[in-house]
């Protein structure tokens, strides 16, 4: 009996210790630190997409050294992997967790929905007088507006996505293919035929399951949208447009002629397969990236003009938590990242001398780039040993135009981006946000229908004569007419207001 009592006492004491320990770690007192200017230092938590980096703490120490002195901010970065980010941020946002800034865009941690929900801080008043507001292209700021209010700071990069045909250089040189003259799907035909005859080992047109045939419209809610260049703003089903029908027939023809790999609808990219042409979504100098990925040189040509849509211009933004205690500091930090050359490159590439070194720009290249914007005096050589310890996605953190370019890239890369952005055409629907609330049930059904038919139709694996009516039937059953009517109503209102 005695023994039992002592044990009980021990257990009780142990429990008490554990609970207090838990509380101590939980509510550890925040001591107000100050920097040499006497500003109080605040810590900001920033959620980013991508995988955690081994040297992240090391780089952050350097970053913090700099920004505590400059603006009195200490930065903490949390990451969630590409596939997990959406789910993770839903939990973080919905439970009112402690965070100050987060990455958001049109394809992960949805910007529009979160802005509508009130999760993000409306920052119009904070950003008015900042430098970044002046330097970042006005169209990015326009795209960041939801019902006239701004909820995020856009990362300045390519504003539209440019669908391109990507050719293997080896065959282009061998057969003198006039790549620059090829644009539409139909332009490809004679060359596909030639390759098919002359190079039996090569797949003339290599497509994978992520392929989608060239679409000449802004798919606001796939498959419903507005055609490029249609200023009357008529909402259409993409499968009812002339162009798409023609494209699908051509794809089918190519498939039957044996130009396309037979497993296109289900294949995932197999780099060991030799191909003549494939489709890619590009940007200026994308050839370099593709070439490096594939291990041989490629040349590319745009399929059509590049259009700016809400989806493309909202490719990357950083939003601020509506509940944050330090909105001014967060804006100040984002402003610094988007305008300060030292800080931007530090966050982007890591520590100079450890992760990268400055290298000279060849004199002739420098001379050629003279006078162009966003051209720097040096390029960057990444340290082969340590680069894997710190390699983040650059546009997650902020604009690209004040980063140095890599050794193998042209020094005027960002000038070319800027030019590309200026040359991109606004889609007629640019700036229009579709509120899916009234038709959310119908929209939810589209995904399944597209999964069922989309890939096989786009790759020409099935006959459009037979399957297109089936697809239409299913879409109608899901209620596509209601969605079109609703979108038309909303876009008419939007147009009237403009």
């Amino acid at each position: 009996m005695m023994k039992f009592k002592t044990l009980k006492r021990f257990a009780a004491a142990g429990l008490a210790v554990m609970m207090t320990a838990g509380m101590m770690t939980g509510c550890g007192g925040k001591k107000a630190e100050t920097n040499s200017n006497g500003d109080e230092i605040v810590e900001l938590t920033w959620w980013q997409i991508g995988d955690a980096q081994k040297d992240q703490e090391k780089v952050l120490d350097k970053v913090n050294e700099y920004i505590t002195e400059k603006i009195g901010v200490k930065l903490k970065i949390n990451t969630a992997g590409w596939g997990d980010y959406d789910q993770k941020m839903q939990v973080v946002i919905n439970t009112g967790d402690d965070w100050d800034m987060c990455f958001t865009c049109s394809w992960a941690n949805n910007y529009l929905q979160n802005a509508n929900k009130g999760a993000f801080l409306q920052i119009d008043d904070y950003i008015k007088d900042t430098d970044m507001y002046k330097t970042i292209d006005a169209r990015f700021w326009e795209a960041a507006k939801v019902q006239g209010k701004t909820y995020g700071v856009p990362s300045e990069k390519e504003i539209g996505s440019m669908p391109m045909w990507v050719f293997t250089k080896e065959y282009v040189d061998k057969y003198n293919v006039p790549v620059d003259e090829i644009h539409s799907l139909e332009d490809l035909e004679p060359w596909l035929k030639l390759i098919k005859e002359k190079e039996p080992d090569v797949v003339p047109m290599y497509l994978t399951s992520s392929y989608s045939a060239p679409v000449y419209m802004d798919l606001i809610q796939n498959p419903v949208g507005i055609e490029y260049g249609d200023d009357t703003l008529t909402v259409k089903n993409v499968f009812e447009t002339e162009k798409m029908r023609y494209t699908l027939d051509t794809m089918r023809k190519y498939y039957l002629d044996g130009y396309i790999n037979k497993d296109a609808a289900t294949a995932s990219d197999d780099k060991s397969i030799k191909r003549f042409v494939t489709k890619g979504d590009g940007q200026p100098y994308a050839e370099l990236v593709w070439g490096k990925d594939l291990g041989y040189e490629v040349v590319a040509t745009p399929i059509m003009d590049t259009y700016v849509t809400n989806i493309s211009a909202r490719g990357a933004l950083t939003a601020i938590n509506a509940q944050t205690e330090h909105p001014e500091k967060a804006v100040e930090l984002l402003n610094l990242i988007n305008t300060d050359e030292y800080l931007r490159n530090l966050l982007n590439y890591g520590i100079e001398g450890e992760h990268w070194d400055k290298v000279e720009v060849p004199a002739d290249e420098a001379a050629a780039a003279e006078g162009k914007p966003y051209v720097y005096d040096n390029k960057i050589k990444l340290n082969e040993e340590t680069r894997k310890d710190y390699s983040v996605s650059y546009w997650v953190q902020g604009g690209l135009f004040n980063t140095y370019v890599l050794e193998n890239e042209p020094v005027d890369k960002w000038a070319a981006f800027k030019e590309f952005n200026t040359a991109s055409v606004d889609a007629p629907s640019f700036g229009f946000d579709f509120d899916i609330e009234p038709v959310s049930t119908e929209v939810a059904g589209f995904g399944n229908v597209m999964d069922e038919f989309g890939k096989s139709l786009f790759t020409g694996s099935v006959d459009p004569e037979e399957y297109l009516p089936k697809l239409q039937e299913k879409l109608e059953a899901t209620g596509i007419d209601k969605v079109i009517a609703e979108m038309q109503k909303q876009i008419d209102e939007w147009k009237a207001k403009k």
Binding site: M1, K3, F4, W82, T95, S210, Q283, V289
Partner: protein, 320 residues
């Protein structure tokens, strides 16, 4: 003397012969036997081959993998993946340590909590038996959902970024308690408990020195459930762990897998950025090597627990 031994041997021989003869009556036809064995062999091959394949891929040269695809006999062997994990994969080894730690500590704590709870419920003399049975039945039928769980763990218990967040949510499970309670009820006679009490054992001594040794097979079963649960858990890490130094191996694997999948499926939206991001991902052979090193320890855990299962079969075989 020698005679005696001889005759003993003879007797043994005879007995064996008799037994063998008796066995014949219990045997199935030899053709059926072959058929069943063949079926079972095929089934076990189906289970084993994928894993053998994983091992082979982990030893394949990355270059020849890209050229020829998966093969049972690769063109070129290489231990590069394992060298990479040992030399550069600091975080992989650390995650390995985290997994081992939470599995051991979690299983011990879980067994202690489940065992004591189930034992109390199994005793007819326990006053609040009904009440505590109801308490554990509720979470079996209803669940608070993800958000509620998250709030409790991070806001009430303040366990965010702590290893306890990986241990505590898994250690008590209604199903395990009920299994163990039934086991206690059926395998530990009241008479044993009573007699121990009469001899002056306290409740603790009774539990640890009388009940536990008698209930080892049951505890081993629950222990195996818990071990597997902890070893394979990644969801809690995804929810509660922002500190990349404290993530278990399985979550590390899931992260790599889901990132690669996601990047492959979103080529259209990500464009060139996706290709740059994918280039930083570990290669196929390294992924497979991680699978191998994460599976091996758990394979060795099975025989360890199996010893108790065999014991468990004989418990209660003879009724008195």
């Amino acid at each position: 003397m020698a005679d005696k031994i001889m005759s003993k041997r003879k007797i043994e021989k005879r007995i064996r012969k008799l037994e063998a003869g008796e066995c014949q009556y219990n045997q199935i036809k030899s053709s059926t036997n072959v058929l069943f064995n063949a079926i079972l062999a095929v089934l076990s091959l189906i289970c084993v081959i994928p894993f053998i394949f994983v091992v082979i891929i982990s030893f394949t040269d990355e270059q020849s993998l890209a050229m020829n695809g998966y093969r049972f006999i690769p063109e070129k062997f290489s231990t590069y993946a394992y060298e990479y994990i040992i030399s550069a994969g600091e975080n992989i080894l650390r995650s390995y340590g985290v997994t081992i730690f939470i599995t051991i500590v979690g299983t011990i704590i879980g067994l202690l909590l489940t065992g004591t709870y189930a034992y109390a419920l199994s005793r007819k003399t326990y006053l609040f038996r009904k009440f505590f049975t109801t308490v554990i039945t509720i979470p079996m039928l209803f669940s608070g959902g993800m958000i509620a769980n998250y709030l409790i763990v991070t806001k009430v218990l303040m366990l965010k970024d702590s290893l306890w967040a990986l241990i505590l949510p898994l250690c008590l499970n209604s199903f395990n308690i009920i299994v163990l309670r039934t086991f206690f009820k059926t395998s530990i006679p009241d008479a044993v408990v009573e007699s121990a009490k009469i001899d002056g054992a306290s409740e603790w001594r009774l539990f640890f020195q009388i009940v536990i040794p008698m209930a080892l097979p049951g505890l081993a079963t629950i222990g195996l459930f818990l071990t597997l649960g902890y070893w394979n858990d990644w969801f809690n890490a995804m929810m509660y762990m922002d500190n990349k130094d404290l993530i278990p191996l399985q979550y590390l694997l899931i992260q790599i897998e889901s990132s690669i999948d996601w990047l492959a499926n979103n080529k259209g939206t990500m464009g060139v950025d996706g290709i740059t991001a994918a280039a930083n991902m570990p290669k196929e052979t390294i992924k497979m090597a991680i699978v191998v090193i994460s599976t091996l320890p758990i394979i060795f855990a099975y025989p360890f627990f199996q010893r108790y299962f065999v014991n468990g079969l004989t418990v209660g075989a003879v009724k008195e």
